[in-house]
Amino acid sequence: MRKYLFIYKSELMSNLQYVFNVFAGFIGYFILMVIFLNLWKYVYSNPDEIINGYSMNQMIWYVIVTEILWSSLSGRSFCNKISEDVRSGNIAYNINKPYNYILYSLMSHLGSRTICFIMYVIFGMLVGFIFLGSFPTLSILSIIAVLISSIFAFIISTLLITFIGLFSFVIEDSAPFYWVYSKLILVLGTIFPIEYFPKFIRPILTFSPIYVVSYGPAKLFVDFSWNNFIFIFIAQIIYIIIAYMLCFVTYKKGVKKLNVNGG
């Protein structure tokens, strides 16, 4: 375990110099929030109205949280990195090191995004507070529970993107798969909670990754209940196991037929 903590720590230290790059991302994030604030203000005729179980403030906080999770993930560049590693054969240089490649890329990605995640949380909370004037009521324990759920969401997203990246072993470019995945998350998981969708789609969404990578933590933040937490927590554990297994099998099969450029 010590080696994986070191991988995390080394990546974290390495990324400290990119702190200022995060600020550029804040601009896009802020514009998006202004759009949603106006959109929901338009949809909700008065702020106390409840639509599909959500007040206007809850809806805005929901988007703030899902966008924090999505923006700080930087999934596209991570997917490209894995995919490029596979295509160029660079992945080979990780094979003869005594660590598990999947856990290596997981810890390294978590390490590289930690600072960004913290900064997005601070910025997102600030934006929410400025727009809405208050935070959702949460106890210290429930804040910790939301944080745990967010970290798990981050882990699952990273593993799923690793899986998509590793697809380059099978087809040369995994970018189209990532494109589909990111658009599904954006439309079905970031903007609207599951309750906004027609009844017949809801079970599909509940069993899809959207429930654990996006909806879960945001739902807990805007409308916390321990029942929900336990349900989401179990679903996340199951998803971590499934996503890890998918990565592991693809990687195991892939390296057997690895070609390395230049030899």
Binding site: R2, A92, I95, N96, Y99, V260, G262, G263
Partner: protein, 327 residues
């Protein structure tokens, strides 16, 4: 005692073929065609403990493929490999703890971190206790003279300094074998010499077996006692450096500055390389003619200055590549 045993090793690659233009691209999607490349063909050799061996060959000869199979990166198609009695195909992880690798063209260090942090990282990766890592870093940084820049981020180091750090990073876990794949690529002659001295010192101090691939003949000449030459996936020569020189150094280059012009023609055993009237450069095949014969032909009284030298090793090796290729 042999610590690397390779027997009848082969590896083929399947490469996708693509015809020219858009039509060709579309065709390759519908009906892909593949070409099989035999990168390594049935090679066998052994390396003893503590040996410094040069594994050389032209580009695309199969040397990197072989090194990657020995280190567990690539799976062989056929044949047996035993490195420290470990089969790289099945026990990659166990092997990883016992060998070190430096690929000159691929950096393994974290560029934003200092060498010191990098060494700590590699120590953790190889499960070495913290206190042991510290003492190892101290020992190696003294041996490789890193004290001056051990706390400077790797991205700010010169190429020579970086390669030294790369080698140290691969030695933190005290590997029994070190695989060096073109470690001096892109370095200037002074730095190259420096790295060579350090590699030699390391081999002497730690008795580490060194498996080296390089395009630089002077690397091989100065470091290794034994050389394996691979071309087109086959071993074309496996011999002692001294034998190689002895067998192939039967040609001498005679350069002479003359008082008067000499009219000399190619004869059996003598080839004129350059004739500028007063300056002559000839190659003497000592199997057919002695150097003394050649000097007699020039007339010793007519010689102002003379230089007799061996054919450069570089030329010998490229002639081996060509010669065996024709066969």
């Amino acid at each position: 005692m042999a610590i690397i045993k390779v027997k009848n090793l082969s590896k083929t690659f399947k490469v996708k073929l693509k015809e020219k233009g858009l039509k060709g691209s579309l065709k390759s999607i519908v009906k892909p065609r593949y070409k099989t490349i035999h990168a390594v063909k049935n090679i066998s050799f052994e390396v003893d403990k503590g040996e410094m061996i040069a594994f050389i060959g032209p580009n695309g000869a199969g040397k990197s493929t072989t090194i990657k199979m020995l280190t567990g990166i690539l799976y062989p198609d056929k044949g047996d490999i035993k490195v420290l009695d470990i089969n790289p195909k099945y026990e990659r992880k166990t092997l990883a703890y016992n060998i070190g690798t430096v690929f000159g063209q691929k950096e393994q260090l974290w560029t934003h971190l200092t060498p010191y942090d990098n060494f700590k990282f590699f120590g953790a990766i190889y499960d070495i206790p913290e206190s042991r890592v510290e003492s190892k870093i101290k020992e190696l940084s003294m041996l490789f003279e890193l004290e001056e820049f051990i706390n400077t981020p790797v991205r700010n180091l010169s190429l020579g300094q970086r390669i030294r750090c790369e080698i140290v990073a691969s030695l933190i876990h005290e590997p029994k074998i070190l695989f060096l794949d073109e470690p001096t690529i892109g370095l200037d002659p002074v730095v190259k010499g420096n790295i060579r001295t350090l590699i030699k010192r390391m081999n002497k101090e730690f008795k580490t077996t060194i498996f080296l691939t390089s395009h630089d003949v002077s690397d091989i000449e100065k470091l290794c006692k034994r050389v394996i030459i691979i071309n087109n996936g086959k071993i074309v020569l496996d011999d002692d450096m001294t034998n190689l020189k002895y067998n192939y150094l039967n040609k001498k280059i005679v350069e002479a500055k003359m008082k008067e012009k000499v009219n000399l023609d190619d004869e059996d055993g003598i080839t004129i390389i350059k004739d500028k009237g007063y300056n002559l450069k000839i190659e003497v095949d000592t199997k057919k003619r002695s150097v003394a014969d050649a000097i007699k032909l020039l007339n010793p009284d007519n010689i102002i200055d003379i230089n007799i030298s061996n054919v450069p090793l570089e030329e010998i090796i490229s002639s081996i590549y060509k010669e065996r290729d024709v066969k």
